[in-house]
Amino acid sequence: MHNLADIREPLILGEKSYADITHDVVSPIENKAPKGWYILLTISAIIAVWGIGNILYLIGTGIGVWGLNKTIGWAWDITNFVWWVGIGHAGTLISAVLLLFRQRWRMAINRSAEAMTIFAVVMAATFPGIHMGRIWLAYFVFPIPNEFGSLWVNFNSPLLWDVFAISTYFSVSLIFWYIGLIPDFATIRDKVKSPVMKKAYGILSFGWSGRAKNWNRFEEVSLVLAGLATPLVFSVHSIVSFDFATSIIPGWHTTIFPPYFVSGAVFSGFAMVQTLLLIMRKTMKLESYITVKHVEYMNIVIIVTGSVVGVAYITELFISWYSGVEYESYAFLNRATGKYWWAYTIMMTANVVTPQLFWFKKIRRSFIWTFILAIVVNIGMWFERFVIIVTSVHRDYLPSSWSMFYPTWVDLGVFIGTIGIFMFLFLLFARYFPVLALNELKSILKSNGEKYIKK
């Protein structure tokens, strides 16, 4: 048995019993969805269809329809890719790293955070795919025997490391998520009355019966997967940062990138978790499970990672001067004071300054403030990637090649479209999947439930 310090706030509020937890999660699945859900689903479906149309147009016409030019060959595509991968870092961090640290507050949020991770990584993977131009040749990224002689992919290239990192991260996150879902699908299977749903959840639950030996294996698998996923989370964004750091473009050629990117990823991921969970908590009546304490814990993670990002920004600036390399100095001077100064200012304000407001307990424990600041962080982190990518390449070595990036409506359509697809998938998840990890929550009810702590 674990002992709980008196100052710990309960993680499950209200007089909840095991049956109540099941009821609170299963009844929204069984009952008719609220009107708001249909409205949101329709809106996101329209945006998703618009995005898919843009992607098809792009594939059909070629990537010339983007605003890229000879100087700026990478812009919104890779910005969006890194942004989505970053967002996809919170889920596995919550479920794996916090599992290893035995943080019980993760249990109310891990399921939806992992779902968010998986959908975000799918959105991220879209961008390198469509940037290939000839997406039907995407299998070229894998080392498969081919008819072109011994033509292998270049294993020295960080872009190939990325292929392996992203596909490993996606598939491992997916199985981690699904293995946790199996027992909860079984709960739904045994609870719902409609025979169609019973059959559907029966298939999804893989015939889970909850035997003692099954649970013994379940816990071992969860622990080992968490142990494997923890270094994986850190490796993935490190490798994403290598895409830039191993090049010799001033502004990208920086050894600080791996820790800086990983911390930025966790920062943006938690902000997205806050954005989604604060809405879900209210609409799905999960106030007893996703409490102000959970929100506060996540905000603390946001302050820590946001401050690491801030230190990284300042270190970069300092080193660019201290290195004495004039190209390097210029890259950073230009970033802060050149034509893209406004993007740099948004980045600095939204990522470094405003998250510091969470030092105030009132703000950190306020849902409205958290929601606003989380959205600000999401925007700021998108600008961070834009600043790093575009400002570093828009001033070439030859001033005659200097250029600016202007997005076309296809750039915009694809980006907004991925947000639509992401929201669409998340809404389906929230409606048909157990949004809380039932089996994990039940196992902490006696140690962390308000009802039991009081006694």
Partner: protein, 177 residues
């Protein structure tokens, strides 16, 4: 041979754990326990051995590590050595630093998938498998203990029934098989 299975239903994990401890002390063999979440500490009481899945993960991980290194050595050193800026590429050892990220990823990939597949197969939880829990409530808020009469041949059916009835259960189901 006529056999009998007892399913004792409890509404609390701690009561079930106490009951199991008590019954095992009296010489009863508990066949299985069905619960909606892992009951910590039940395994040694009813004699469930610690799983060896972690070893499976290690073996799969080792396989991934070796496969990745052997593969990259073949692609990049043996089959088509590339001269990139005159960087050393004659032996695996000279080039191994660039191979570490993929070696790591592939190790994790194989360890995670290998262990998870083994887990699903060993648990007999695969798409389309039928559920075998005795009562639908055991995935909600009830806990069931299964006792098979033939495994407890030193006791009569009535003795087992009496012992179970005195253990704080909420419902006792018997099934002849």
């Amino acid at each position: 041979m006529a056999d009998k299975v007892f399913y004792a239903l409890y509404n609390d994990d701690d009561i079930l754990k106490d009951a199991a401890t008590d019954l095992v002390a009296k010489g009863i063999r508990v066949n299985d326990v069905f619960s909606p979440f892992p009951i910590h500490g039940i395994d040694p009481i009813i004699g469930v051995k610690q799983t060896r899945l972690a070893i499976v993960a290690f073996i799969f991980g080792l396989t991934g590590l070796i496969l990745a290194l052997v593969g990259m050595r073949y692609f990049m050193i043996v089959d088509w050595p590339m001269n990139i800026g005159g960087k050393p590429n004659k032996t695996l050892m000279q080039n191994v630093l660039a191979f570490i990220p993929i070696t790591f990823e592939f190790t994790v990939l194989l360890a995670a998938h290998g262990m998870s597949l083994t887990y699903l197969i060993r648990n007999k939880t695969l798409p389309g498998m039928p559920a075998t829990n005795p009562d639908p409530r055991t995935t909600d808020d009830h806990f069931s203990m299964k006792i098979v009469l033939s495994e407890n041949s030193q006791f009569s059916s009535e003795e087992v029934e009496n012992m179970l009835n005195g253990s704080g259960l909420v419902e006792l189901n018997q099934k002849d098989i």
